[in-house]
Symmetry: C2
Subunit: 603 residues, 2 copies
Amino acid sequence: METLQGMKRDHHCGELRKENVGTDVVLCGWVARRRDHGGLIFVDMRDRSGFVQVVFDEASMEGGTFHKAESLRNEFCIAVRGTVRARSEETVNSNIETGEIEVVCTELRILNKAKTPPFYIQDGIDVDEMLRLKYRYLDLRRPEMQKNIILRHRVTKIMRDYFDRNGFLEIETPMLCKSTPEGARDFLVPSRVNPGEFYALPQSPQIFKQILQVAGFEKYFQIVRCFRDEDLRADRQPEFTQLDIEMSFKSQEEILTIMEEMVKELFEKSIGAKVETPFERMDWDTAMDKYGSDKPDLRFDMPLMDISEYVKGSDFKVFNAVIENGGMVKCIKVDGYADIPRRRLDELVKFVQIYGAKGLAWIQYSEEGVKSPFKKFYSDETFAKIAEATGAKTGDLLLVVADKRLVVDTALGQLRLEMGKERNLIDPDKLRFLWVVDFPMYEWSDEEKRWKAMHHPFTAPRDEDIEFLATDPGRVKANAYDMVLNGVEIGGGSLRIYNAELQEKVFESLGLTQEEAHAKFGFMMDAFQYGTPPHGGLAFGLDRLVMIMAKRASIRDVIAFPKTQSARDVMSNAPSEVDDKQLRELSIRTAVKKKEAKQEENA
Amino acid sequence: METLQGMKRDHHCGELRKENVGTDVVLCGWVARRRDHGGLIFVDMRDRSGFVQVVFDEASMEGGTFHKAESLRNEFCIAVRGTVRARSEETVNSNIETGEIEVVCTELRILNKAKTPPFYIQDGIDVDEMLRLKYRYLDLRRPEMQKNIILRHRVTKIMRDYFDRNGFLEIETPMLCKSTPEGARDFLVPSRVNPGEFYALPQSPQIFKQILQVAGFEKYFQIVRCFRDEDLRADRQPEFTQLDIEMSFKSQEEILTIMEEMVKELFEKSIGAKVETPFERMDWDTAMDKYGSDKPDLRFDMPLMDISEYVKGSDFKVFNAVIENGGMVKCIKVDGYADIPRRRLDELVKFVQIYGAKGLAWIQYSEEGVKSPFKKFYSDETFAKIAEATGAKTGDLLLVVADKRLVVDTALGQLRLEMGKERNLIDPDKLRFLWVVDFPMYEWSDEEKRWKAMHHPFTAPRDEDIEFLATDPGRVKANAYDMVLNGVEIGGGSLRIYNAELQEKVFESLGLTQEEAHAKFGFMMDAFQYGTPPHGGLAFGLDRLVMIMAKRASIRDVIAFPKTQSARDVMSNAPSEVDDKQLRELSIRTAVKKKEAKQEENA
């Protein structure tokens, strides 16, 4: 193996163009592909910037160098000195940006050899993801993965520039925090110096960023690692990155404006996408009622429509019973889909059942007249009225669900998305942002038989709803807001409580005793005694945002070293067993026997 | 308490100037001080930008508002609408930037009240640090603390701008890593999903940043949290922040240049300090020999000088014995200090003993002639020769240590710093940067009776020294470098090994068996099989760097929420005991009884 001694890289592979013809260059990079052609060897050489073709010509070069070139294999790390020359017209390759030129090598150094990689270092490979993760250092060499990581860098840089320019300070908050088992499960860190005690890794810097407002920093942001020890889904990681923001003395509307301007700048500068501001604001009630979702995808319309008034009081007992029990009958209209196959309708019945609906009905306004499972219970006039009310024309399909409001909305909301995809109504290049506002303060937990905070217990209720905190929690709306993009929640936040008494009332309504509240958040309620400013903020999930921007299906594709579904790093093999000495020093024991010990037992 | 409803802050307190006279403004902030003067109330109002004087005039304002102003106390959070007016000449306050104007209040809102803070919210308070940490949200309101945190933000922003502009990518590496108990002690995180297994929090992203080079990212940086579970000293924290850098295809000299240009830009842009580049390069041997330190403070000279040749072979057994045993006699010259009090000399004898020297001797070239404890053993000619060799003139003092090289250098190096301070030779405003290069690869651990890596086991030995790896480790120099500022190491790094066989050899020389090396770093040695580029990098301790830039004595003053010496956050009370349920879920038990349980036992 050779060194770079005496050679200094002065160009990058992917940047060479016709203008460079005649220039002597030194390149460093990897062999992406090699082709031999008589006394010529062609190497596609790759670095972070892209590819260039390097030519080794037996006729015109020193024998030793050509011989060396013959030993090149894929992924060898090399340095090349050579001259840029124009390719002949018939050999120009318009597929790559450097396709008009090639580099004629005069000196070659092999900096490192390479074994044959376990998969091709190229885009669009069809390889088990576990293999990609195990050889992440090779997977990340693939241009599409490099592009993702570079985009992620650009995204955070643009965010930081924006917030810095707007007077925000990036302030670091601790990673070794206090465990406050609300919300999700904490990762714990045993303390050696304080035996029997534990730190928790932060689920978010929520409390610290509020404390920074008490401390008078006024405008805070941070791009920060957060941790949740929950069972993993496709788009979740035990550690994830958050853009975290908090500010004082700002109204909700001012906060939303600052954020949408950030997003506008971000999308324009990083992926060249134009974003219109201000975003639409939609209250939570409307979002649920009209789209059956608190994160509606507005790239297509297809609203949920209430047809209870047309179908009530008939002989059809199903609808009657629902309506009498306070439920409702709603539908969505799928244009031009009256000829939906019967088999597909049966599948859709099963589909809505996943979301708790007992069944699905429909009205097909077909050329041959109305088809519907409940046709015999209603007059033609009723179906005409429904058509008028929903705007259904001949050829259109109504899908109908009858149930309690939440079930109807949820099931039809999901069905709406399904139909949007099935009928090709969603333009993948469209960016439809909106703010969903006025979230309920609480949601009822059937599991725990108590009200839980929909966002978190520091969210401020609307002033006009404070009187209902104790008497009618379900009615209380919060000054909370989510930013939604194409049906995905990309950020959310709220104005916060900044008054110790109100904070205590909210803890109380969540079933925390004064003692519990003080044990967990006492210092925060103390802090509220010293002139806390009105404040609010929000947080964006960075991984998911970059995933959407990069048009990838998995957040693992935009994280350099992600964990698997079982929370493992399969490259370095973490987590792993540790020495007993380490546990002893931390004053903990594991309740699991060591693998070696277990094997001995089995032996 | 009132809200901001209908009022929109449009100016900041500290930015108002004479040019604003006549402007109507809305300010938000805190009451820093209130003085009453007949029918006038003066409030020094503070926000992040600074202070301004607000006047409440009973004669000209609505009675309710004046009454409200009378209720104001320190640290109340308020909003003020008013008009900027010029102060009369005799009331101009040139101590504050807004001292030429004041704001005449027309509307006051009390956004939040405040109890009396436990200490004054002002600079230079003399308060127990534990109290400051417990009420960190108040401590951080003090202007000097705000300045530190704002400086820290500026520093990281300038760093990120610099590296982005120079083609570096900020890439996030995992916090939940594999435990590799080399170096310092790991913080461990039990895995719930993988019972009996543990993650470790990273001591640095060393391995990941090298893997990113294998992955072809070429230029990486990150400002990243790191963790070391070591007993804390004044300038150590269990979690700390590091500027972490790694790059491929660069020579050591290129790496040093990129870093010194960064530092130059950083100091100029953040604190307006001019920095000369390139920095002096000094090899480790020279630094130790000449200044007795691997991080010499070059703000003053006073080199260590070897006078062995003049004192050997005399009747003075102490010197003779040392020299015969391979040791040496060295001195430093303290100009104009021949009249050092005898008492002080006795103290200095004790001082050098801290650093392992058995004693201290001296030569005073006083007006009355030479004074020295070893005068009778040498001729006047010898003392004259020593004076000539060291440049000592009448009035100068030589302080002399005789011992093994390392002891002499260390003791005299420390004595040099002591004399530098004592003789006022150190200009506190001077910035003296240098690179110390060519560090030894290994240092001998008397404790463990083995060679240990001076930097870490991934450091590349110099090519010409590789042959001595197995036979004479002490002789091997590494391609390692430290950046030193005013006698403090602020950053350090090395070129790395990028060849699997050499890496194995180094592991071997450190006493790791092949099995151990593969269990810990197998994936890295695998990675080295796939065309790893030559690479190197370094890391800067951000906390310490900002501390120096802010001219503070403790890193806790530049960290928003630091831990105490016993690794506690005394504000939120972390670490703390946790629920048994949490431990059960993690399959661990604590070896410590719960405090409540202990109390019951005692009851």
